[in-house]
Symmetry: C2
Subunit: 194 residues, 2 copies
């Protein structure tokens, strides 16, 4: 097990309905030393890429992506969720469906901060059905920029997102891939990664 | 002018309606070196305080507060905005009115992460009417924890929030206090601070 898998086993809580609670260290309360370690690990995994910008989506991705951006020495850009339909043409927009909240959001990024020639590393805390990540990818593509890769902290391997996005040809690095969780025993099964 | 005021003059945009756009370096695209400098400056200003936790509110506060928490060597806790009324008793809740979005949000923090004995430094990017900050303060007080201070990146000194919260007896440190802005000339007047 790597450092993140160990932490998930130690402090994660498995709830019914395939919910993995990691709010004591990742997405409500944040352990900053862990964020720094995550930043270094993504730098190591994408060290062959010449990244010019890190892109994430509000809210819980921001704390993680900030330390990834620090490692690469590049700006962090975070997409905003918006319900408003009144977008003024200065924004890239993607529609993202949330299964958790059962609604649709527009995800927006200002055109001033993303364009041709940018090489973008996309970072997010969770990958499940992949809607948010697909939205971010489509924004990068609309901008004429390049997706250098996607760095995910926790991937739910039993949901479809990771497979869909890898099949689209994108490189996805997940620090932990959960293949199964048992809410009764609390046992979490991680996918073996080389 | 300090480093932040200089940056606001260089890259901030004054728009009509007393809007100050700082989305190229602070709250959409983030300059990580600037975030680190902000973190060090709040550590310096609150060096007399023994802080055990940094509290902020999603979304744009997170990136800033993460580097403040790093300087203090403590966890970061971010309050979540929620429209749901179905709160299960495990949460501290405050009602916050947004003048920008003309709606009310519940701001929530899990009771597991805040309690008696915690000494909390509250961090946010903007202070204007003070509603969000008052919500965070009331959550800390409900938890029986102590507010050690409030660190704000940009305070709109011509709005009421800073005065209200200082009058309540809380220490508010703002890195830049904008006393006036002129959308036609682009001139920004900062309050002199010692």
């Amino acid at each position: 097990m790597n450092f993140l898998e160990e932490r998930i086993v130690k402090d994660g809580l498995v709830k019914s309905g395939n919910v993995l609670k990691v709010d004591s260290f990742l997405n409500h309360q944040m352990d900053i030393a862990l964020m720094e370690e995550i930043g270094r690990e993504f730098k190591r995994r994408f060290s062959d890429k010449s990244v010019t910008k890190v892109l994430t989506i509000e809210a819980s991705g921001i704390g993680i992506a900030a330390f990834v951006a620090k490692e690469f020495g590049v700006p962090l850009l975070f997409a905003k969720k918006s319900k408003s339909i009144n977008i003024d043409g200065e924004m890239y927009v993607a529609e993202v469906e949330s299964f958790t909240h059962k609604n649709k959001n527009q995800v927006i990024v200002s055109k001033r901060f993303l364009g041709v020639g940018e090489r973008v590393l996309i970072i997010d805390d969770f990958l499940a059905n992949g809607c948010a990540l697909q939205g971010l990818i489509s924004i990068v593509e609309s901008a004429g920029a390049t997706v250098e890769g996607c760095g995910i902290v926790i991937e739910k391997g039993f949901q479809i997102g990771g497979r869909v996005i890898r099949n689209m040809g994108y490189r996805v690095e997940s620090l932990a891939i959960v293949d199964a969780m048992d809410a009764e025993t609390g046992v979490i099964t991680f996918r073996e990664q080389k």
